[in-house]
């Protein structure tokens, strides 16, 4: 439902302006029950053309491979079965959200429903659809990962598909659209000055950098979350809690608490993407030693308590 927060213009106007029309959407369309079953049959027998199949939610295979933990209501068939039937009919298949892309939170813990993503099982290719599946248009399943997805990630993917300009080169190694996946959450993070000096928050509600102690992996996570705002002006880090890498396969099982940083000998285990370890260590210890008082004090406060110094006026 994050999609309904699409802005400038709103979702209905945006779809209309892009020549996109829902054949059916479970939350928004008028058609219900028998009308929908007829539509699905028509797509299946080829009498109705399906340009884009969007799938939300992981695909459930349990119990015992039957998929019966998730039956498509009124049809007597599992969602697993329906995805296999409809995907080859579609020009493009788009998995929306980290559950649909890689399995996501639904696969956490013991993965009680034996869920997978549409074309990935965690970080491994091959999910409900096989690793070599391509839609009629020639692309694999396009993974608009995020938990939640930014509404623009969904609408812009659909607009690019409608415009016919999205190619294999526009997808990253996990089939995510590169227009948002080539960025890191770190880009544009409002805590950048704290990061530069490794001036760290020690617990949630403090405004310092959350990488060292609070589990933030915005320097490794893909997403333009701090470049384009969420719901007006927001992002996870701006609201004072860490990036948990929700655009990535297997983010649901970090192997430690979501808001704590795993450390070895007191040093965080994870490194910023593409950063050599020795350099990171050297730069971090140097910058930490050079932390100005203002930044150090503010890092462990719940609001700015020491303002920036002002330049003295010329005499």
């Amino acid at each position: 439902m994050s999609l309904l927060c699409a802005e400038d213009p709103n979702l209905m106007d945006l779809l209309g302006a892009s020549g996109l029309e829902f054949l059916w959407h479970p939350s928004l369309s008028e058609a219900s029950g028998a009308e929908v079953r007829r539509l699905l049959s028509a797509i299946e027998d080829g009498s109705r053309t399906l340009d884009i199949l969007c799938i939300e939610g992981s695909i459930v295979r349990g119990p015992r491979g039957t998929g019966k933990y998730h039956m498509l209501a009124g049809t007597g068939r599992s969602m697993l079965d329906w995805v296999g039937a409809l995907a080859p009919k579609a020009q493009h298949v788009v998995a929306v959200g980290t559950c649909a892309t890689y399995g996501g939170v639904t696969t956490a813990g013991e993965n009680p429903s034996d869920a997978v993503g549409v074309q990935y099982d965690g970080s491994h290719k091959g999910g409900a659809l096989s690793a070599d599946f391509t839609a009629r248009g020639g692309l694999p399943v396009i993974n608009v990962a995020g938990c939640p997805t930014h509404p623009d990630w969904v609408t812009e993917t659909l607009m690019l598909l409608a415009a016919g300009t999205m190619t294999q080169d526009d997808l990253d190694g996990f089939a995510r659209p590169r227009f948002y996946a080539d960025h890191l959450v770190h880009h544009g993070c409002s805590k950048n000055e704290f990061y530069e000096y490794k001036a760290s928050a020690t617990e949630l509600s403090e405004i310092g950098c959350m990488m060292e102690h609070l589990g933030c992996i915005g320097t490794q996570a893909v997403g333009d979350c701090n470049i384009r705002a969420w719901n007006g002006s927001g992002s996870c880090t701006r609201a004072g809690y860490p990036c948990i890498n929700c655009t990535a396969p297997e983010f649901e099982e970090p192997g430690h608490g979501f808001t704590e940083t795993p450390k070895f000998a007191g040093i965080p285990v994870g490194l910023p993407s593409d950063m050599p370890k020795a350099w990171f260590m050297a730069l971090a210890s140097l910058s930490k030693a050079a932390t100005p008082r203002r930044i150090g004090v503010n890092a462990t406060s719940d609001r700015i308590t020491v303002p920036p110094s002002l330049k003295k006026p010329k005499p």
């Binding site: 439902m1 802005e7 209905m12 939350s27 928004l28 929908v36 209501a73 927001g234 880090t237 979501f258």
Partner: protein, 476 residues
């Protein structure tokens, strides 16, 4: 028409997956069976994890009630620790929660419920042209206006919660982001803009006037705004008597905090308010594809029946309070808060009452949330550190848009040993229990009219959607 049966699904414009089997006798529903056809097992995923992980995982049960799940988890962990959030933290959390609930009511009325009246089957009715212009699915002018108003209201969640849904800002000790005086004036403007939408579009009058209605006869005269169009349609189609509930209502109390709950807690039955004893909750498994014994959620389990035995028909457990089903939601909250219009609506307790209860709550919530924002003091602390114990139990009882939501957690050796959730729609869309007594919506559907040749009866759609089900929360 003689005896027959119908399978209704996929049932859309409800959140998540729903299938309903109807038995029909002489043009009326004689029995209904609601199936929540998806099982994911969130309660089991949590077992073995650190307690704080519940704050990340449970909101992701649902993309529409996400903050409600955050609130229930944060309350359960605070209860486990014997702690309370700081007063300002509690106020901000309540603000975020109320924004979500208000947004959900708006989505339900405009995007889920009203579009059915734009259907071609109603052509020729005096109101149909207006319903088509305002409420045609994906196109109507009311849907656009509501979507715009809602997304701008949710800027408050963007500002304080980072994003909607799935914020991690709400913690047992308060909220992660302090509110400044500047934030307050920005949010006041957002609330003012939302009030303008409510007064110009939804009600066509000051919210205080709608909130001040005291009787059904006053309500029936309301003709302004989209609320007026609904009431005109409701009168024409006799939605007052469609889908009558049992008249037992439950609320856990909404937005509890340092100023007391906005809407009171309690149980309504036999024509009066009673104190609510949540120890009397039992989840019955007789008609759910679940194994184990009926139990209070503090001792309950989630063991799916892989064989999907024939005597069961849903993944939804059947929660009962002292052995009885109860209805939960906005109408229940307004009844238990003693609002005179809501108390008058109990006499009809059908589709119109549920939708009017939601409209009433929208008007009252606007007034309340403005005063809540006023009370937030930027000079105070918004979060305190809370140490969680190595073992213990906690419960988090809140009101989601759709009604009473409870989380029950038990911790052993610092890890989650048990986590049980009862969502509002688990109550409303529960299957039959051991005694064969139907769940609330199953009971409400009995008697619904089915026209000759109808495959997906309109009356059934109105009744089901009047409950505003969230099926993804139901089984979780």
């Amino acid at each position: 028409m003689s005896e027959t049966s119908l399978l209704v699904g996929p049932f859309n414009r409800v959140e998540g997956d729903l299938e309903i089997r109807l038995e029909i006798d002489n043009g009326r529903v004689s029995a209904a069976y609601t199936n929540s056809p998806m099982f994911r097992g969130f309660e089991r995923m949590l077992v073995g994890k650190g307690a704080l992980d519940a704050l990340t995982i449970t909101p992701r049960i649902c993309g529409i009630c996400s903050i409600s799940q955050s609130m229930a988890a944060a309350h359960a962990l605070a209860d486990l620790a014997g702690a309370l959030p700081t007063p300002e933290g509690a106020r901000v959390a309540a603000l975020l929660h109320a924004v979500e609930n208000i947004s959900d009511h708006l989505t339900h009325f405009n995007l889920f419920f009203m579009p059915d009246f734009a259907r071609a089957e109603y052509a020729g009715r005096g109101w149909h042209d207006r319903a088509v212009a305002r409420f045609t699915a994906m196109e109507g002018s009311a849907l656009r206006a509501a979507t715009e108003a809602r997304l701008k209201l949710l800027h408050i969640v963007g500002l304080l919660g980072g994003k909607w849904p799935h914020t991690l800002a709400i913690q047992p000790g308060g909220v992660t982001r302090a509110v400044s005086a500047r934030d307050k004036v920005r949010m006041a403007v957002s609330l003012r803009a939302f009030r303008t939408y409510l007064e110009q579009v939804l009600f066509g009058a000051p919210v205080e006037v709608f909130a001040g209605l005291t009787s059904v006869s006053d309500l029936e005269e309301w003709r302004s705004g989209d609320a007026g169009l609904f009431l005109e349609i409701a009168a024409d189609l006799d939605l007052a008597s469609a889908g009558r509930g049992t008249g037992r209502y439950m609320s856990f109390g909404a937005y509890d905090g340092p100023d007391g709950p906005a809407f009171a807690r309690g149980l309504w039955q036999d024509g009066g308010v009673h104190s609510l004893d949540t120890n009397a909750i039992v989840e019955d498994l007789s008609h759910a594809w679940m194994l184990g014994e009926a139990a209070h959620p503090a001792r309950g389990q989630t063991l799916p029946d892989e064989d999907m035995r024939d005597s069961a028909y849903s993944w939804c457990k059947a929660p009962r309070l002292s052995g009885q089903s109860v209805e939960t939601g906005a109408l229940a909250r307004q009844v238990l808060d003693g609002h005179p219009l809501a108390l008058d609506l109990i006499a009809e307790r059908g589709v119109r009452a549920r939708v009017a209860g939601r409209l009433l709550e929208l008007a009252r919530s606007q007034i309340w949330i403005e005063s809540l924002l006023d009370r937030i003091d930027p000079s105070q602390r918004f979060m305190d550190h809370v140490d969680l114990p190595e073992s213990g139990e906690g419960q988090g009882l809140v009101e989601a848009a759709r009604g009473a939501l409870g989380h029950w957690v038990r911790i052993e050796k610092g890890r989650i040993a048990s986590y049980q959730i009862i969502a509002p729609t688990t109550w409303n869309f529960s299957p039959r229990d051991q005694a064969g007594a139907p769940g609330p919506v199953e009971a409400a559907l009995v008697g619904a009219a089915v026209q000759d040749g109808e495959e997906t009866p309109l009356s059934v759609q109105h009744i089901v959607r009047s409950f505003d089900p969230c099926m993804v929360c139901t089984v979780h």
